[in-house]
């Protein structure tokens, strides 16, 4: 099925089999995500991409796009929830951006900027997780894992191996390595595997590659994640000719269905594209 849906007042075309998040992204409309990755099967665990579809809450990365859907993404309520989700991720692990080698290239950091996250809001957990530096070329800093499952899926679906898994629940959740010792060096991962490169944070790193990209040449140095996530050409076209709009009464500001947080909300981020 293909057709058009309406996201925050913008008419977004979609093609057969696309999820809402992918339809949006290809049309230059950014819906924040962390456990999703273009080219990967829908997963739906981080809930960052939560939107209202015809008034109901759904994860945009799992719900197939359908003709005539009315999607609200950039409402104050939803942005508020996204900020809180991001803050929870920060306090649950140890994300010390100033000295993290992933800084400037980190999707979690970029999402935090996008969500105007200025503090942690929640008390810090001070998680105590061990580093696995056993592999000669790959480092796991468990402190920075947000349990997005991308490495698990990459290893299984892209590399045809099963190097990673997530064990435990809630606060005891942890990334485990499938090897006799539980150490990465005894697994069959190789530095060329997609699983070694897919981590959106600084949890799985290729050793000795830190800070090679100078400040100014890192992924998010000049463009916010809302732009980096989309095709440049689409954004340029959108900026030049404007985005096609759909029914203006369907904008979140104009009587969108949710307003229960509105009074206490932090300002919604200033999204540069799409609207």
């Amino acid at each position: 099925m293909s057709g058009t849906l309406c996201i925050d007042g913008i008419a977004v075309p979609f093609s057969d089999g696309q999820t809402i998040i992918e339809a949006a992204r290809t049309a230059g409309v950014y819906i924040p995500y962390l456990c999703h990755r273009p080219g990967y099967a829908p997963y739906g665990s981080c809930k960052l991409c939560t939107v209202k579809v015809n008034g109901r809450t759904n994860t945009a990365c799992t719900l197939p796009a359908a003709d005539g859907q009315t999607v609200i993404s950039n409402s104050p309520d939803l942005q508020h929830d996204r900020q809180r989700i991001t803050q929870m991720l920060f306090v649950e692990g140890n994300h010390f951006c100033p000295s993290c080698e992933k800084s400037g290239n980190c999707q979690l950091q970029a999402v935090a900027y996008h969500q105007n996250m200025l503090d942690n809001h929640y008390p810090h957990f001070y998680a105590q997780r061990e580093l696995d530096a056993s592999h000669p070329d790959i480092l796991i800093d468990h402190d920075r894992c947000i349990f997005c499952n991308l490495c698990v899926r990459a290893s299984k679906e892209k590399d045809g191996k099963e190097v990673f898994g997530i064990a435990g629940r809630g606060i005891h959740k942890r990334l485990i390595v499938n090897s006799p010792t539980g150490k990465l060096k005894d697994s069959d991962i190789s530095v060329d595997d997609e699983a070694a490169h897919v981590c959106p944070t600084g949890a799985i790193l290729v050793k000795r590659s830190a800070y090679l990209a100078p400040i100014g040449e890192r992924i998010y140095d000049h463009h916010p994640i809302s732009e980096v996530a989309c095709e440049r050409a689409v954004l340029e076209a959108g900026a030049a000719t404007g985005y096609p709009s759909c029914d203006q009464t369907k904008l979140p500001q104009n009587g969108g269905p949710d307003s229960h947080y509105a009074a206490t909300m932090p300002p919604a981020p200033d999204i540069k594209h799409g609207r």
């Binding site: 100033p98 000295s99 530096a133 480092l139 000795r208 830190a210 800070y211 100078p214 400040i215």
Partner: protein, 503 residues
């Protein structure tokens, strides 16, 4: 000299004959420096201690981290000279990847030097800006002294603003090389992560001639202030000491890389061109019960005699010459003024700091014409090693970074000797000297506290309390008797407000 004052006769303390002027670590006011003075019943200073607690725990904190994080992580150590830590750590991790200083590509070596000159320039300018404020007068008790300095300052009406601009320029050098004014990246194992572009180079060239002129004016001002009241400047908080610094192989002043030179009180050379990679044999660190900060000393001379001073005064005293012309003639004039082989005046730190400021400005000017800065041959490679040592002359003095790593690239051991630690004994000596000579027989008073500030500040210690303008350094004194009873408290907050409460 004043060593007897550090630990008072226990019998006197026992008998209650001594009152203690103390700032206890527990009751320490956040961000305040503190001085302990132990007085006897006649209010004569028996003991003086400067308490420093800033550096605890960092060596533990970096254990267990991969070594390539170090140059960026250690920048958190110091808000004033993060770049010096960045570069000292970078020199150490060069060795971890098998690259010795001589094998660094010329472009990387010169970019790091440029970065470091920018750092020293901005740090010295910050210090100078404090000094150039009319608040310089705080702590000076003689009316004649005050008047002569006011007279000097009126000849330099724009000096405060120039101090700010000098600092800004140093920060721009840092930003061009490392990507950010503070906490940039830049140095990576075996080299640098980017060259300068032609545009960046041209941008820095625009103002450098002016910067050299302002640096000369700053130096002139400090020289005049010092020479306007020689007896005071040469005696206040002055101690005769040994001096430790790096020098170039030809004996010239060096800030980025060289061998260790130590000179004695009379200028006799005790150690020369010493390879800092074996510094653990040269220097030991003594732990004393009353402070977390260690007391380094030269192993061969022992705990009592082995202490030394580092920093601008040490570097200018130790070097045979400076390889930039304006700074060199200033050095000659400086050495001549005392008539001695070594200048021991503690307030001469300010003078030498400005000689170095000028040297940095001149060096930046020369470097900016070097085409190597634009070269993209930036990283050298070598065989992995398990131990790396990096030593640099930070604005405040010689800075040691020493790391050991395991087969998985993880830091197992770290040892840092920051310049403020090296000056620990000396600062205590100076505080004791001021206390013994200026404060005996007085009650806790504002001039007392001001004089202590002047002595401490000469060393430009990397303490948060020292980042305030002259006369605004937050300091805390408490008068406690031998039984630990609080008799008197004097606190000065950074607002300049005094709180004096007698119990």
């Amino acid at each position: 000299m004043y060593e007897h004052l550090e630990t008072a006769d226990p019998a006197l303390v026992e008998s209650g004959k001594l009152k203690r002027v103390a700032v206890d670590p527990v009751s320490r006011v956040e961000g305040h420096g503190k001085v302990t003075l132990l007085l006897d019943e006649n209010n004569k200073v028996q003991q003086a201690r400067l308490h420093i607690v800033e550096f605890r725990g960092f060596e533990k904190f970096i254990q267990g981290r991969p070594y390539w994080e170090l140059p960026v992580m250690v920048q958190r150590l110091c808000g004033i000279c993060p770049v010096s830590h960045h570069l000292a750590a970078a020199k150490a991790i060069d060795q971890l990847v098998g690259v010795d200083p001589v094998n660094l590509p010329p472009a990387a070596d010169k970019l790091r030097r440029l970065l470091h000159f920018g750092q020293v320039l901005q740090s010295h300018a910050l210090h100078f800006f404090h000094l150039s404020s009319p608040d310089l007068l705080f702590g000076f008790e003689s009316e004649i002294g005050k008047r002569s300095i006011v007279a000097v300052l009126t000849d330099y009406p724009d000096i405060g603003l120039q101090g700010v601009k000098l600092r800004k320029y140093g920060q721009e050098v840092i930003r061009m090389v490392s990507g950010k004014r503070i906490h940039g990246t830049g140095a990576i194992p075996g080299g640098m992560n980017k060259a300068l572009t032609k545009a960046e180079c041209d941008y820095l060239k625009q103002d450098i001639a002016q910067i050299v002129i302002w640096a000369e004016a700053a130096l002139q001002l400090v020289t005049k202030v010092h020479t306007s009241n020689l007896p005071y400047y040469d005696d206040f908080a002055t101690i005769r000491s040994k001096y430790l610094s790096l020098t170039k192989p030809n004996g010239a002043l060096e800030l980025y890389h060289g061998g260790i030179r130590v000179k004695g009180e009379q200028g006799e050379t005790l150690v020369d061109h010493y390879d800092y990679c074996t510094y653990p044999e040269l220097i030991r660190e003594e732990v004393r019960s009353w402070t977390y900060m260690k007391f380094p000393y030269l192993t061969s001379l022992g705990k009592t005699d082995g202490w030394y001073r580092v920093g601008p005064l040490a570097r200018i005293n130790n070097c045979d010459f400076i390889d930039t012309p304006l700074a060199e003639s200033a050095r000659v004039e400086f050495k001549r003024h005392s008539g001695e082989a070594m200048v021991h005046s503690t307030l001469a730190f300010h003078w030498t700091r400005m000689i170095e400021l000028l040297h940095c400005a001149e060096s930046i000017q020369a470097l900016l014409d070097d085409p190597d800065l634009l070269s993209n041959d930036l990283v050298a490679k070598g065989e992995k090693r398990h131990e790396g040592i990096g030593v640099i002359e930070a604005p405040r003095g010689t800075l040691f970074h020493h790391y050991q790593i395991d087969e998985n690239d993880i830091v197992t051991k770290a040892n840092l000797i920051v310049s403020t630690t090296s000056n620990n004994t000396a600062m205590n000596e100076s505080v004791r000297q001021v206390a013994a000579e200026y404060l005996s027989g007085r009650e806790l008073s504002e001039p007392l506290l001001n004089n202590l500030e002047v002595a401490i500040r000469a060393y430009d210690p990397c303490l948060s309390c020292a980042t305030h303008a002259v006369g605004k350094m937050p300091l805390q004194l408490e008068l406690i008797d031998a039984e630990g009873k609080l008799v008197d408290t004097l606190i000065r907050h950074s607002s300049g407000e005094f709180i004096h409460s007698s119990a």
